[in-house]
Symmetry: C2
Subunit: 718 residues, 2 copies
Amino acid sequence: MFVASLTTSQTAIAKTSPNLVITSADVTNMRAAINVEGQFKTTFTANKAAIDQQMAEPITVPMPQDGGIAYQLTQDERYARYVRDMLLTYAELYPTLPLHPARKVGKQNPGKLFWQSLNEAVWLVYTSQAYDLILASLSSAEKNKIESGLFRPMVKFLSVDSPETFNKVHNHGTWTTAAVGMTGYVLAEPEWVEQALYGLDKSGKGGFLKQLDELFSPQGYYNEGPYYQRYALMPFVTFAKAIETNQPERKIFQYRNGIVLKAIDTTIQLSYNQLFFPINDAIKDKGIDTIELVNGVAIAYGLTGDKGLLDIAKQQKQILLTGDGLKVAQALDKKLAQPYDFKSVAFGDGNDGKQGALVIMRQNVAGEQAVLFKPAAQGLGHGHFDKLTWQFYDKGEEIVSDYGAARFLNVEAKYGGRYLPENKTWAKQTIAHNTVVVDQATHFNGDVEKGNANHPELIFFAKEQHVTISAAHIASVYDGVDLTRTIALVNLPSNSNSNSSSSSNLEQKQSFVIDVFQVTSAESHQYDLPVHYKGQLISTNFQLATQLTSLPVLGKENGYQHLWLKAQAQPDAGLSQITWLNENGRFYTHSAIMDGDSSVLFTQIGANDPLFNLRNENAFITRKSDAINHTFVSVLEPHGEYNPSKEFTVSAVSEVKKLSHQKINNIDVVELAVTSGQRYVLAFNAAKNFKGKQSNSFVFNGAKYRFNGRFKLFEINN
Amino acid sequence: MFVASLTTSQTAIAKTSPNLVITSADVTNMRAAINVEGQFKTTFTANKAAIDQQMAEPITVPMPQDGGIAYQLTQDERYARYVRDMLLTYAELYPTLPLHPARKVGKQNPGKLFWQSLNEAVWLVYTSQAYDLILASLSSAEKNKIESGLFRPMVKFLSVDSPETFNKVHNHGTWTTAAVGMTGYVLAEPEWVEQALYGLDKSGKGGFLKQLDELFSPQGYYNEGPYYQRYALMPFVTFAKAIETNQPERKIFQYRNGIVLKAIDTTIQLSYNQLFFPINDAIKDKGIDTIELVNGVAIAYGLTGDKGLLDIAKQQKQILLTGDGLKVAQALDKKLAQPYDFKSVAFGDGNDGKQGALVIMRQNVAGEQAVLFKPAAQGLGHGHFDKLTWQFYDKGEEIVSDYGAARFLNVEAKYGGRYLPENKTWAKQTIAHNTVVVDQATHFNGDVEKGNANHPELIFFAKEQHVTISAAHIASVYDGVDLTRTIALVNLPSNSNSNSSSSSNLEQKQSFVIDVFQVTSAESHQYDLPVHYKGQLISTNFQLATQLTSLPVLGKENGYQHLWLKAQAQPDAGLSQITWLNENGRFYTHSAIMDGDSSVLFTQIGANDPLFNLRNENAFITRKSDAINHTFVSVLEPHGEYNPSKEFTVSAVSEVKKLSHQKINNIDVVELAVTSGQRYVLAFNAAKNFKGKQSNSFVFNGAKYRFNGRFKLFEINN
C-alpha cells in the first residue's frame, strides 16, 4: 500500500518550486504582504537588511535560507546568485572532505562539514529549503553540479552510509530523516522520501513515522520533558510541513490522531508565564518564544486557524517569513488573537502514555496558580531523580521551585558552558527536589538505567469546579519503601474580609494546595521532605534555633553536601506554619501537621561549591527520623499583598487555623479550618484497586459522609 | 509690602468655588472630558464606581475628597450630600474631642481625630479641598455649622494652639501650614493664609516660605534623600497650587527661582528605571509612580506644558481627577509624550547647596548606565554612614547596590512593620555600603549628630562627550584619616568586534566606571573597600580559598557581625578581575590594581540574623591591612550578553588587559588598555587649591601630556 501511494504521488514531487515549507502560492501572498504595512513587512524589512549586510561581507557562516526567501520575495536575482554561489562552493568542496578533524572518536557520529553528523543533518534541513527557493533561477548545469557535488553525496553519507543513525528511533535520528526526506522532495527522489519515512529498508521499523510512534506519548508529551521537547520539535514539524506540502494524501498531520499538532500544543501547555516548567536538565530561561515553537505555532496556526495560537504568537514577538508566518502576521495585525486555553491535564508518559504522567493543575485565571506534579518516568540521561516531586507557581512567579539544570549555557568560564559538575552532585539529586528522601539517599541510588526501567504509577487525576486532584505511587525508588502522594489544588470563593473592600486589586479567591505524602515500609528509616521555596522568610509559628556565627554543612553526599544548615527547629505537635514573601508581592504560608518529634531544617544551597557555581537558594526540610511509616500532610496557601510602593500590606497572616488528617479505611480525610470559621473536609480514595464510580463513606467527628468516585470536598458551616 | 499684597488680593479670596487645587474652569473642562473616551474618562468611571460602593456602606473611613469631585463632575446632589453629612458629623464631634487617647506622651504632638497632629494636618489638607468642592451646594446654616464646629476649631488647634509645630521648619510643619493656609482660602480668612506663609507672628521666621527656603537646596534637592524627598513633596506642591489658584500675584511657583518645580523635577531625576535611588533609609520598591509625584507631575505639567513630564506621567499609569490631571490625560491620549531628559547632575546638598552633593552620572540612552556618587551630607536621622559611597546601574538593574532600609513596611511579623533592629546594626553601617571602612569602624563612629555636623566637600563635577567625572573629599569621618574619591563614567565607541556583527542587539558602546579612592593618614590602619554586587559570581582571575564545609562570621560589630565569609584570596600583584552575571543578562567585571599584599574577602549577608530579617546579598571586600596610605584603583566594565533563551553567550570575558595608576604631582593618571590594543589615559587633578581653567602637564611613559581644567581622557593608538 505504501508503494502504491508512493507511485501515485511520485509525479507530484518537485513539479513546482519552491514546495517544501514555503510554496509558490505562499510566495505570491508573501510578495503582496511586503508592500503592505504590518508585522510581516516589518520583519521582512529587517531581515532583508541583515542579508544585504551579510552579502556585502565575505562568505563566512553560510545561512542560505534567508537568501532564498529574499530572492522569492524581491525577485532580485542578486539573492539567488548569492545562494547559488554558496552552494556551488560547497559542491566543489564537499566531495573532497574527509570526516571532520574535530570529530570525537566513538562518542558521536562524525560529520564532514561539522564535527558531528547531527549538525550536518540540521544544516541540510535548512539548505534543502534554500535550494528549493532558488531552484527556478538555476540552469541545468548549475543544478547538476550542486546536486551531484553536494546534495546526493550528503544524502548518501547521512543515509546508506550511516544506517545506525538513520534508523535510530531518537530525536537526533529525526533530523537525519527530515534532511534526507526533504532533499528527496526537492531532487524528486521519492526513494529517499520513502526511506526517510519508513527506514532504510522501508520496513517501518525505523524512520520518521516510527519516530512519531515512539517518541511521543499519545497526548504528545515527550519523555525527556518540556526543555528537550521543544528542542525535538523542530525536525518533526518542519518535515511534516514539507510532507503535507508535497504529498497531502499522506495526511501526515492526521497521523497517530494528529500527534504532530498535539506535540506542538503540549509544548505550549508545559509552560507558565511564558517559560517552560524546568523539570529535568532544563535551562530555566527557555520559554515559548524559542524558535522551535515559533515555527511550530506558525505551522499549527496555518493548519488549524486556532485563534488561541495567535495569543502565543503574540507573546513570541517574532514573525516567520513563510506562508504560515504570513497568516500569523496578518491575523495579529487584525487583532484576531484570543486567549490561549491553558488546561489542567495529566500527560501520560511513555509511548503508550502509561509510564506514569506529568500532571499540570491550573486555576485558569491569567497569572494565577499552577501546580506541577511529577509522577513521570525518568526521562533518560537528562532526567532527574525526583519521582513524585511538585512545583507551585503563582502570580507569574515560582513559589515552590525546581533548581533546573546546573549550567551556564555557553559561558566558557563556567566549565566550558557545559553541564557543571554540580548538575550531577546537586541538581539531579533527590534532595534538590520537593519529594521524599529516604535515609539521605537518592532515588534509584542515582542509577539512570534503573530509573528508566521503573516509573511511577498515576493512580488518578480528576477535577471538578473547585478541586483538581491527582495521586500517584512508586515502590521502586527505595528497596522496601512505598511512596504514595496525593496533591490537590483547591480554589474557593473567599469568605473572609468580604466587608473591607477598599483595595480592588485583592484576590477574591482563596487557594490551597493540599499535599498528603504517605510513606510506608517494613523497616525504620529517616524521611526528609524538602520544600524549595522562593522568597524571603517572614515568620514561623515555632521557635528557630538559628546558626548565628558559624554555618555547618548538612551532609556528605547525594546533594546534602551542598546545603548549609541555617536553622533548625522542633515544632510542638499540632499546626506548624512557615510564611515567606515572594518578589511577586504575595505571602505564602506552608502549614503542616507536626507530631512533636519531627524537626524542620532551614537550608541554603552553597556548601562545597568552590567556584560559586550554584545559586544560593533556600529550602526547609521536614525530617522524620526512626520511623517505619509516616505521612506528611501540609497545605500551601497564597495570601495577602505586600505593596511597599503604595505603602500597604494586607493579609500577611495565614487564614489556616486547623489542619487534621485521618486515614479511615482507604479514605484519606483532610480537615482544614480557616479564620472565618469555615471548615472544609477533603476526602479522597487513592487505593489502587479502586472501581469506577465506587461509592465511599466514612464517619468523621461523629458525622457520616458519603461520596462517589475518587474524592469530594465538603464545606462545613458551623 | 507683604501686607500690601495681601490687601489687594483679599477680595479675590473664595469668590468662586471650588478654587483650591481644582477651579470652576477646571470643572467645566473635566465635565466635558468625562463624556469623551480617554484616560480621564476611564479613571473617573472607576473612581465613581468606588465612591458609589463606599456610599452604599456605613461611613467608616471618611475620604471626602473623591465625593467632592464626583459631585462637581456629575452634578449629582447625592455626592454633595454624602460629603456634607460627613462634615456635619465631624462638626458635631470635633468640639467634644479631647486629645487622642492613643497619643504618645512627649514623643509626637498629639491630635484630636488622630494620635498625632501630623495626621490631623494631612486630613485637613484633603478635607478643605472636599469642602471647597461642595461649598456651592450648601446652605448658609450648613456652612456655618461645618465651619464653626470643624474647620475653625481645627485650624485654631493646629495653629495658635500648637505654635511650635506650626512654626517648625520641617516637612511635618509643611503639612500644618498647608492645611491652615488652604482652609484660609476656602473660608476667606486671609489672616490664616498670611500665618501659613510667614509663621504665626507673620515675621517670616517660620511658615511655608521659610520652609521653601530651608528644606531644599537651590537645585531642589531635599537633604534626607529621594525616598523622603517624595514624601515631603506632597504638601509643598498642593499648597503651592492652591496659592497659585487663589493669589497668582504671589507668583509662588517663581519663588526662590522656581524651587517648587525644581523639587518636583529633582525627585524625578533621582530615579533609575522608575525607582528612586535607595540611599539612606529607603524602601527600595518606591518609585516615580508614588502618589506624591503623580500629583507633582500633573501640577508641573499644568504649569509648564513640558512634554517630557508626560513621559513620566505615562509610566505612572495613574490619572488625577483634577484640572491638571485632565491636561495630562488629554495630552497622553494625543500621544504628546516625549522622552524625559535624565541628566548628569551634581545636586548640591543643604539649603545653600554647599554641604556636599549627591552626584548622578548617566549615559543618556534608555535603560543604560547610571552612577550614583554620594559625597552628600548625613541627611538627619534617616541618613546612613556612607560618605563617598557609590552605586552603579545598568540595563534596568542594580549592579553595584545599596541595601536601602532594613524594613518590611507594615508587615506585622517583621518587627511590627517598623525599621528592623538590623536597620541600625546592618543597613546604616559603613560596611553595608561601597566606601572605605577604616579599622572596621563606622563613619563618625555611628554618631548621627557628628554626621550632621560634618559633610564631605565636592571637589569638582565635570563632563564632556565621553566622560562624566566627580571628585570629593572628607576628613572628618575617622580621626586623622583623609578620604578622597574620584569616580568617572566613561563611554566610548566600541572598537572591538566590529567585524562580527551578527547579533544586532549588542551594545555598540563600551563603558567603564573608573574609581580612584585615595586614603591618607599619619598612622597605620586597616582599610576595607566593599563592592556589594548583584548577580552570580562567574569567575575570578585568581585562586579562591572557598569555605567548603563551614562558614565563619567576619566580625563582631559595626555590621561585620552580619557577614558570612564565603571565600578569601590574596591575588598576585597586578590586575585582579572579578566577573559576575546580573539577571539583566549582562556580565560585569571589576578589574583592580593589586599590590600582592591586599586580600579579597567574599561575603554574604546573613550571620547573626536569628529571624531571617536580612536579604542574603553578596559582596567582595578588598582589604589592605597595616597601611598608612593606600589608593584603591578599579574599573567596572559591563560587557557581553548571556541569552540562554536564544542560546547564545557573547563577550563573557572582560576587555580590560591592563590597568595602571600613578600620582604625578597633583595629577592622577589612570591607564587602561583593552583587548583591541587600544589604550586610554584618564588624567585628572582633584586638588582642592585648584584654579579655574588651570593648565596641567605631566610626563607618562616618556611622553608629555597636557590638559586644561580638571581632567582629560587621552586615546592612545599604538
